[in-house]
Symmetry: C2
Subunit: 128 residues, 2 copies
């Protein structure tokens, strides 16, 4: 179930994008079910202490990507098909990697170097 109380807003990134990412991540991780309904624009705005229009902007984006469906005069609903899920998955996995590799190559790093750095950094986080 979507729990927007867990969404901690970061002041340096646009709020509406953070909402979009949050929803996608929850779908990808598997904490959301098909047909689950979202809070109303105003409810959510109150919860996050932001302007309803900011919520609307996020929801609209999600709607354009097919992740959200909004019946007339009713609350939005989460919905996805295989294709959409694949797109989300790609964005959250391979998509990440593409940018990263591009930068690493621009700096003339080798695959081995990058793998080593990556492993280090990954495990560094685990220890703590």
């Amino acid at each position: 179930m979507l729990d927007f109380k867990k969404l901690e807003l970061n002041p340096s990134e646009p709020v509406y994008l953070q909402i979009v990412s949050f929803v996608k991540r929850q779908i990808f991780i598997g904490t959301v079910e098909q047909g689950e309904s979202l809070p109303s624009r105003r409810e959510m705005a109150a919860l996050l202490k932001i302007n309803p229009n900011t919520v609307q902007k996020a929801f609209r984006l999600l709607e354009e990507e097919g992740i959200v469906v909004t019946p007339p005069n009713a609350v939005s609903i989460i919905h996805w098909d295989e294709e959409i899920y694949a797109a989300i998955q790609k964005e959250l996995t391979a998509g990440l990697v593409v940018d990263f590799v591009a930068q690493a190559k621009a700096n003339e790093l080798t695959l081995d170097m990058v793998m080593a750095l990556l492993k280090d950094e990954w495990e560094k986080g685990d220890e703590r």
Copy 2:
């Protein structure tokens, strides 16, 4: 030797940052020598077809990081010590990785998944 003709400006990222990155990358890669002098603000502006103030902004940033030294009324000179070099190196290698790992973890990917994706993406580029 620094060759700014090789710097292709990308309209979507701030020009002054591109200049800064370019210089750092050249130092890291090893195509620049200590004491090498940079073109004057105006020269470089003419070369890149931008405003001299934009060049100035880039050079000032580099100066603040200690990568550039500017004697009074003279052209700027490239200079670095061990500490600075280490910082550049870090930014261009480990620094990259830190952000990447943070995002990957936010998406609940595993190290194995990421390594596999990374290898794929890396080699995909090599084939072409």
